[in-house]
Symmetry: C2
Subunit: 151 residues, 2 copies
């Protein structure tokens, strides 16, 4: 248990996850700061970039994020002209998202900083340990807590 930790904190999976997320989030945000993007925004731009003009619902599902939360998060990026949206011609309920030229440029810029943060993280934590962590996190993200526990 790390110093400065009050008793009992380390028992809760959720609390530990949040705590680590705050820490790492601050670190990645810090490195990304020169780009003017938060790490969440950089990640979102990247998702949009690798997707094929993805629908909002698809992005939200990928990120395990509430659809309305995604809508809110998208707003500053639209305001700053990094992304734009358009209705799917075949199904006008669906709103697709894509990067603007400025968005692509900004993402390029941010990805360089991201690589610095990512590399340093792996240097500090260990490449193997980081990979195992991500694998466990991905596994947990895929658990259906409504199912009966595995036997």
């Amino acid at each position: 248990m790390s110093k400065d930790t009050l008793p009992g904190l380390t028992a809760c999976n959720n609390a530990m996850l949040r705590r680590a997320t705050r820490k790492i989030g601050q670190y990645y945000d810090d490195v990304l700061a020169p780009s003017g993007l938060k790490a969440t925004q950089q990640g979102l731009l990247y998702q949009i970039h690798v997707g094929n003009e993805p629908a909002m619902g698809v992005i939200a599902a990928s990120l395990i994020m509430d659809l309305s939360a995604l809508g809110h998060t998208l707003k500053p990026l639209i305001r700053d002209s990094y992304v734009e949206t358009f209705a799917d011609p075949a199904d006008r309920r669906i709103k697709r998202v894509r990067l603007t030229p400025q968005g692509r440029a900004k993402l390029d810029e941010a990805m360089k900083l991201w690589q610095v943060a990512q590399q340093r993280f792996e240097d500090m934590v260990g490449k193997e340990k980081a990979a195992r962590l991500r694998a466990v996190l991905d596994e947990i993200a895929a658990v259906d807590f409504n199912e009966t526990p595995a036997s």
Copy 2:
């Protein structure tokens, strides 16, 4: 890589951490919902409970949370009379926090639900795996990213 994941998502330590935190947060929140508390609030009440009328700065450091963020998070709990604050007589810059009787009762109620969520999580994920995950998260939370990488 889980289904519904766009390419490349799993590479970023920060993004994976956030994604898993959203997922687990929703799950714990769901189970805690009958108490009217969010998981973050239950966790915060618990920290206050186990602390010895902790100062805000001490809580913030324990949770690796910005002091002002803690202040904001505390507000609804103060409004609902679950916690109260008072100046440290020996150093009036320091504001200490403690549970009210209602806060203790609400925490009792929430802890019962927390145990349900926690138990089910461990059943689904595996007790050992969960413990290892928490250990890694605690380790990462303790890393000083300003230091030179370990040799």
